[in-house]
């Protein structure tokens, strides 16, 4: 019999958790305000003047991808799917790596572009564009909610602080500093946050190995949780490629990444995304590994997305909890601000300017951009109040949507024969199939099936097509 009784207490007390949030919040807000002083135009605010260099570009590519998904969901999926969960999650790096060639093409085709919506509108026409906007907004909202939830879960796991307080605090902080600084503040804070994340995660893993070693963890898993070590774990095998397609869909369609491709200097984008992906690859392995130690420590969290911070805090005590707090808080902030900025661009450009007020001047657009950030923050906060699902399940729900855009984006960038009608059909049918599989089989097949149906539809469209798109149409001149 395995006796694993213990009564773990929280590593930090609630007051300390709250003080840490306030201190970090003030620091990031002040930094955002400092960087945002030089933003004069909407282009400065939204695309950092299209002049981001290699070091900042690489750091922001990596740090934005190190999200709550990596620091909380990688351990969650490892806790659920074992070795495959850990390895499978790290393959999301392929999204960044494969976006490298696409980003060079985006920079070449859309020198005046602002958003991924611009591309879909000009390439495929209004119907596909509106469908794409819907997919983008569902995804952005899903990701924003997961990030807000992660803030609350993090503080709850480390200090027992009420979920709603942690969630409210992180949303308020990120909305405020994105509001002051725009993309420039987002990229600069990403650079610092990337350094903190790498150092912190490595530190936790090293300390964990020093304190506990691999043998005892392996022994406990083999006897009581054998599936976590099994390479023939059926659900985990299904999950592997699903996670790859989910990652690809997230990056290929999202304005978070398009705005970076458009903001980076010419020739920088390809190298930055490639290096960012390679640097990101080992992070989920390290983050996921700590979840495997949970059963051996007698730690069984209330929700699997709390396992990462709970284990680190339990093993390493208050110091470890502090490190985990700083790392995850940085990861959350780096993603939340990026997503807020990129989604507000989408709302400002694709919804407001193109649908409501086409003659809006730069000053007006800047104002709308800021209001969109506040509005998005408020909607996210309201939807975060009830904890509707675990982080992994919520994120993978959006997988059905985003994976359906992979083929229309790739083929749209290179193949002139895919028409708007077929692209829209690919996105629509792909999403419907993915959602059906999400509910019929499980979250671990939604993205894979969405991508498969979307791909078949896209290639059928090319096969039957007699259109030949003129690439020059994409170089849209701005109205004076």
């Amino acid at each position: 019999m395995t006796d694993v009784v213990n009564q773990p207490e929280f590593a930090l007390n609630s007051s300390l958790g709250l003080i840490l949030v306030i201190c970090f919040g003030l620091l990031w807000v002040a930094f955002g305000w400092y960087l945002g002083r030089s933003n004069k135009t909407h282009e400065d605010f939204a695309l950092a003047g299209r002049n981001v260099g290699f070091a900042f570009a690489t750091a922001t590519a990596m740090a934005t991808w190190v999200t709550s998904n990596t620091t909380l969901v990688a351990p969650e999926l490892t806790y659920q799917f074992g070795i495959w969960g850990m390895v499978g999650y790290s393959f999301a790096a392929l999204g960044l790596i494969l976006f490298a060639p696409l980003s060079a093409r985006i920079r070449q085709l859309l020198p005046q572009g602002y958003t991924s919506g611009d591309f879909i509108r000009l390439r495929y026409g209004p119907f596909a564009w509106r469908l794409f906007l819907l997919i983008s907004l569902v995804y952005a909202l899903g990701w924003l909610i997961s990030l807000g939830m992660a803030g609350g879960i993090l503080l709850q796991a480390l200090s027992g602080l009420d979920y709603h307080i942690g969630m409210t605090a992180i949303l308020f902080i990120c909305v405020t500093y994105t509001l002051f600084g725009g993309l420039k503040a987002v990229i600069a804070t990403d650079f610092i946050q990337a350094l903190i994340i790498i150092i912190g995660i490595v530190l936790v893993a090293v300390l964990l190995l020093e304190h506990h070693g691999l043998e005892s963890v392996h022994e406990q898993l083999s006897s009581n949780h054998p599936q976590l070590l099994s390479l023939l774990f059926p659900a985990a095998i299904m999950f592997l490629f699903n996670n790859i397609f989910f990652g690809l869909g997230e990056i290929f369609h999202s304005n978070v990444w398009w705005s970076r491709a458009l903001a980076f200097r010419k020739r920088v984008a390809f190298k930055a995304f490639l290096l960012g992906g390679v640097l990101w690859l080992p992070i989920p392995i390290v983050a996921g590994f700590i979840a495997l130690a949970a059963p051996q420590l007698g730690l069984f969290p209330p929700s699997p997305d709390m396992v990462g911070p709970s284990v680190a805090a339990h093993v390493l005590g208050s110091f470890g909890a502090l490190v985990v707090f700083i790392v995850v808080f940085s990861a959350l902030a780096s993603s939340l601000d990026s997503l807020l900025a990129a989604t507000s661009d989408l709302v400002t450009r694709d919804v407001y300017q193109k649908h409501i007020n086409p003659t809006a001047n730069d000053k007006k657009l800047l104002r709308v951009s800021r209001r969109s950030i506040v509005l998005l923050g408020l909607i996210t906060w309201l939807l975060c109040l009830p904890q509707i699902a675990t982080l992994g399940a919520l994120l993978n729900f959006t997988g059905a949507f985003v994976a359906s855009t992979i083929w229309p984006i790739v083929l749209g960038l290179y193949n002139p024969k895919l028409s708007g009608r077929w692209a829209a059909a690919a996105m629509g049918l792909g999403t419907i199939t993915g959602l059906a599989m999400y509910f019929l089989v499980g979250f671990y097949v939604a993205a894979l099936t969405a991508c498969l149906v979307s791909g078949l539809c896209s290639w059928l469209g090319i096969y039957l097509s007699n259109t030949n798109f003129d690439w020059a149409t994409l170089n849209e001149e701005e109205q004076p």
Partner: protein, 155 residues
């Protein structure tokens, strides 16, 4: 938005926040009750929920392979004062759980773990692998063609 409008929004937000933070307080039960998944579990992970009003510090969930609990195979303790526990890594089979708090014993929860078939898993795995290979080859080929066109154009 006017100042009065802003105050109304803030007031509404505060009320919602209060309602959300206090929502857990109202529920109370009179006996120790354990709840688990009602359907067979296909992924080897599941959650057990303890329904108890007082959050005593010594709640333990016992696991056995028989409904009579002749031998306890594992014991799990919830974190802090949480009343829910997530377990994972279970192979296909029947598992029985009950909660114990001092002298109180809960009902027994029967969890059936029945993993998906490996045939189904590998079918999806190979479809995914093939789709991924096609996508990567497609991107690389298009990128190379594009590079060639740019070089030719510059020459």
């Amino acid at each position: 938005m006017t100042q009065a409008g802003t105050w109304k929004v803030l007031l509404m937000c505060s009320l919602l926040f209060y309602a959300a933070t206090c929502s857990g307080v109202a529920s109370a039960a009179s006996e120790l009750k354990l709840e688990g998944p009602l359907e067979p579990v296909a992924e080897g992970y599941f959650q057990l929920h303890i329904n108890e009003p007082q959050h005593p510090p010594d709640v333990v969930i016992e696991q056995s392979s028989t409904p009579s609990f002749q031998s306890i195979t594992a014991r799990y303790s919830p974190m802090g004062d949480f009343q829910q526990i997530s377990l994972s890594g279970f192979a296909s089979g029947d598992y029985y759980f009950r909660a114990r708090s001092q002298e109180m014993l809960s009902n027994t929860v029967h969890v059936v773990v029945a993993h998906h078939s490996l045939q189904q898993a590998f079918t999806l795995f190979f479809i995914g692998a093939a789709l991924f290979a096609v996508l990567v080859l497609c991107i690389l080929r298009y990128h190379r063609l594009q590079q060639k066109q740019v070089t030719t154009h510059h020459d």
